[in-house]
Symmetry: C2
Subunit: 369 residues, 2 copies
């Protein structure tokens, strides 16, 4: 049974408005999921996330597997109990992080052997192990272990890797014992539309609770990313949620929704916050710039977040150049609020069936500055 | 007119329960003031401070003078407007920080010439300048510029420095134009009881809104610190607030109150929080220790702070060893709550006139562990 309920379809594009039910509640789609790598969304509390309207956050299996370990987290009531988060949680499979380790990882049919980036310890994660770890973490949505394809990759390399991901997906499905936790399959296929479509069909044959598009935003052009999304979405069942992994900029979200994506995650709002790059309805603000030294205005006059309600750009600049911890906190609240509020506006626009106009307005506001 | 109202005196010791009125409200004494060096109490928001019951915080004139500058802060409604803090603020004079610069500072009759620790810029602060800067910062309680005496110091050196502080105090009083901002004098005198008593008398002759004991907790023994406090407090007028600067540990607060101190400040709770050393009713917890790895208990079972209500020692250890920003936030909330709650208990004990028993219980709980 699908966890997805469709509310509205755009008449102008593939955008759709719906909701996903997990054992920790319902979240509205399209949705952006803040990334909480190490059992915390960096620099904010669960209450901050609830206040800004986050319904689901993401945890990173690789990081939690290494530290503090999934067995410890299981004893604390899973990630929800350990980090005190009442909403839904999606965990990735660890595949992307292991892939990022490059020389520290070896992929075989059996699984991924790798060394901890913390202490060099030899570790191994099989598809079955990735499910078991995520069952211990108690996430609401688990991801199949996948292999990521570097960009660029030739067709043979991409095909071999994609086929392995599909075989691993079958093993993950077999290993999946707690059906209260949803399991999503991941479509790879590099930058080959037909390969992604075949991979999607193979995953649908296995049958999952949702489908993710992986291996995009890895260095390819935006055009190519959109092409791959457009090729893949129609190959997936319309009554299941579709998740575009690791994407992206505000414009990427607007474009992804246009092409039928329901779920997104990205470190961009949280990482940029800590680097002092802040999102506003008129574009980015680099808060350390001297032009903000005396600026009494809030970051974004139209923003209703805690930071914009209470602090000036001048104060935020002072905190950032002084390297104060409060800077990371206030910046993160603002950037995550921006992303979550953007998705809220997107949902409203789809409901009103004016998503094309919304998209145009979004771009014209950006170029105001 | 004194800003101090006495509520109760202990029948057992010099402890007293009262309140101080400033233009930003009333705070209850004895009080602990969290330190907000650079226009932020590190790692927490104003709302966090209000929730834990902080009525007054401290700002550092030296740091704010250097960055972002008092003129900028004045344009933003003073420190209160700039950092969004509705309660009272005490600013130090900058003397202690300039003193700490050692080779970067030269003290003359006129004032203190020093170089910025940030960029080496040549700066100068006179007693009049220190008042002017603090008037720009808009603090509720300003401190006279003083010279700090190293420890140990011979009598001649201590006398010369103390006399200079007293002459500067007179100049500060003259320069004090906005009488809505209170101005406190600072008693120096090194480790010489009679010198402190003479200095106190000289300050009382000038007449201030409150009196501070400076130059303690600079390396001397606890016994000597207590002796100097005991020698100074009776030399100050009983109807004015008495502030022991830069002190100290929880036991130092208990002992200071015993000797008649009304106000304290110290970076210890905030700095220790960031170092992972946490205060509990049973003593210190060094949260990185492996013994807390699997510990489901809160930091302090008797503590009602946000951190203890929601998180386990195991989670706090995980955040700390993972160097997550949330670690500094949660630890700071706990440590400041511990200090503020300790002062609350102290005030209740004085009201009930059982401060001697409270002090005994405080020490016996500490040795439980």
């Amino acid at each position: 049974m699908t966890p997805f309920t469709l509310h509205t379809r755009s008449s102008e594009c593939a955008a759709r408005r719906g909701e996903v039910r997990t054992r920790h509640g319902i979240f509205q789609t399209p949705v952006f999921m803040p990334v909480g790598t190490q059992a915390t969304v960096k620099a904010v509390t669960p209450e901050n996330l609830l206040e800004m309207g986050a319904g689901i956050i993401l945890g990173n299996t690789y990081h939690l597997f290494i530290r503090p370990g999934h067995e410890l987290i299981r004893r604390f009531g899973g990630l929800h109990g350990f980090m005190n988060w009442p909403g839904s949680i999606l965990t990735d499979s660890g595949g992307f992080q292991i892939f990022s380790l490059k020389d520290l990882a070896t992929i075989t049919e059996e699984g991924a052997a790798f060394r901890s980036h913390l202490d060099g310890a030899k570790l191994f994660l099989s598809p079955e192990g990735a499910v078991q770890v995520q069952e211990s973490l108690g996430s609401d949505i688990m991801m199949c272990l996948d292999t990521c394809i570097p960009y660029p990759a030739d067709r043979r390399q991409a095909q071999a890797s994609t086929d392995l991901t599909t075989r691993w997906a079958g093993r993950c499905r077999q290993a999946h014992s707690n059906r209260e936790q949803l399991l999503f399959g991941i479509v790879q296929g590099g930058m080959y539309a037909d390969m992604r479509q075949s991979a999607a069909a193979a995953l649908v044959d296995i049958g999952f609770d949702g489908y993710a598009i992986g291996g995009l935003s890895v260095g390819e052009s935006k055009t190519l990313m959109h092409e791959m999304t457009e090729a893949t979405v129609p190959a997936l069942p319309a009554d299941y949620p579709v998740y575009l992994m690791g994407v992206g900029t505000p414009a990427d979200l607007v474009e992804g929704v246009w092409r039928g994506i329901d779920m997104f995650d990205c470190v961009m709002p949280t990482r940029n916050a800590r680097n002092g790059t802040l999102f506003t309805s008129h574009g980015k603000v680099v808060i350390k710039n001297a032009r903000y030294r005396d600026d009494p205005a809030p970051l974004d006059a139209t923003c209703t977040c805690y930071t914009c309600r209470n602090y000036s750009r001048a104060y935020l600049r002072h905190l950032f150049v002084s390297r104060e911890i409060l800077s990371y906190h206030l910046n993160t609240i603002h950037n995550l609020h921006y992303y979550i509020n953007l998705m809220d506006q997107i949902r409203t626009a789809i409901e009103a069936d004016c998503y094309a106009r919304f998209r145009n307005d979004f771009y014209s506001r950006l170029t105001d500055q």
